[in-house]
Amino acid sequence: MTIEGTQEYSINMGPQHPSTHGVFRMVVHLDGEVVTKVEPKIGYLHRGLEKIAESRTYAQFVPYTDRLDYLAGPHNSLGYVQAVEKLMEIELPERAEYLRVIFAELGRIASHLVMIASGSLDICGWTPWSYCFRDRERILDLFEMTAGNRMTPNYFRIGGISHDVPEEFMPALKSLLDDMPELLEEYYGIFFGNEIVQSRMKSVGILPKELAENLLITGANLRASGVQYDVRKAEPYSIYDRFEFNIPVLYGCDTYDRHLIRLFEIQESSKILRQALRDIPDGPVMAKVPKVIKPPANKIYHRVENPKGEMGWYIVSNGTTKPARVRIRTGAFVNVQMLPAIIAGWKIQDLVTIFASMDLVLGEVDK
């Protein structure tokens, strides 16, 4: 309701705006400084990956998967290669499975670090940003020494991984894991314990459980709304059923909890990494795969727990070397709907923190 003598107006935020983490655009309708409605406009990074997939062979498409959610490249590839392996019924050697899990979880940690970093940047906190990026570099170093590329390692192949890790990988990973508890404490102290952060974020942007389920929200955002659901537990893929870890769940449903749950997830991921490091066997890293990858005509829907939400790969094969359809269900794309649903009534400065808490990556939203 507008006050007499005033009128609603709308402003355009993005696509080039520092707090939209990429090329996201929203039309914000305002009454004074209270937001009444937000219309998200996406597609500024739409690259047509699903169409590209139809003109590539199965193996050629693997590098593209890294570029979906570029903050956590390995986990996207994991979903794709596993879907194709399921179609072809390939059994993987043990060591490859372990290395895949190690890479996927490292990617998750890197992604969550960027999330916390950019969340703090949006409320003008430069120090947590530099701390998180400092430690993220150590993970990228691990990627680099193995695969050669920092952010998009393109390390997984259909039927295994491209090559074994170098000698210095395991000691470096171990030292990172040893430092992890201390680092987490540091992030907690500098960001989550900060008074400004708490007053800006606590009880802001409530996403109730029922609404989250109805909006099909997945991933950490759902878990911060009190639903304990994780594909790694609910429908274990790869070798996630061998590890002991918890699914963190918070009941605050607000912006603060959506940030905090990422910290707990880093903790759980490092738990998985520690176990993987302990149990990893020696052996080959590539299964016997035919030279030409030609899955039989069939359909598969395979889903994995991406850092941003659930990622689903629906692959329809027609018996040739190229897929008939590759459908990518990305968590972030569906999670965008959260914003217009919960934004009404908050001030314009809350819009920025609520947006940051959704943890969108535009590569994944737009595909």
Binding site: P15, Q16, H17, P18, G22, V23, G43, Y44, L45, H46, R47, G48, L49, K51, I52, S55, P63, Y64, R67, Y70, L71, V114, S130, F133, R134, R136, E137, L140, N149, R150, M151, T152, L362, G363
Partner: protein
């Protein structure tokens, strides 16, 4: 050493003692510009994250004086096109370029901005940002390492300081 040269050097020394340097205005302004680019943070895709890491603690872009990433194109003189330029985004990119004050330069960071990269045959992607905006420096890589970005910016510095090196060569008559 001949006498004439020696005299010149001595004169130069005397002027230097008075804290005076002789140069022309263009060179002087360029000297200022190349040591303090203000890039506009035009991050499009994956490369934007590498651009952010370049500003981070390890690579420390501020060693060169280039770390002031401006959100507004009106206060920037360098545009780093970091990522895939889609056809939906192209008019926006052009508009941001037009809003920047002169003199201005553009760096295409990453394969996508250089030539469309892996997405060149997609229906929604502009094959190369250079068809939309004039580009000074191309940095290949998918995504390029932070060192590549720093090298690219130093090349741009070189290019501005020595315009004669990069002028178009006329072939034929």
């Amino acid at each position: 050493m001949d006498v004439k040269k020696e005299k010149e050097l001595r004169d130069a020394e005397v002027t230097a003692e008075k804290n005076i340097l002789r140069t022309n205005i263009e060179k002087f302004l360029n000297w200022g510009r190349v040591h303090s680019f203000w890039p506009t943070s035009f991050g499009l895709a994956c490369c934007a994250i590498e651009m952010a890491s370049t500003g981070g603690a390890r690579y420390d872009l501020s060693r060169f004086g280039y770390e002031v990433f401006q959100a507004s194109p009106r206060q920037a003189d360098l545009m780093i096109v970091a990522g895939t330029l889609t056809r939906k985004m192209a008019p926006v990119a052009r508009r941001i370029y037009d809003q920047m004050p002169e003199p201005k330069w553009v760096i295409a960071m990453g394969n996508c901005a250089c030539s469309g990269g892996p997405f060149a045959d997609s229906y929604a992607v502009v094959p190369g940002a250079d068809s939309i905006i004039p580009i000074d420096i191309y940095i290949p890589g998918c995504p390029p390492r932070p060192e590549s970005l720093i090298f690219g910016m130093l090349q741009l510095k070189h290019k501005i300081q020595h315009p004669s090196k990069v002028r178009l060569v006329k072939y034929g008559k």
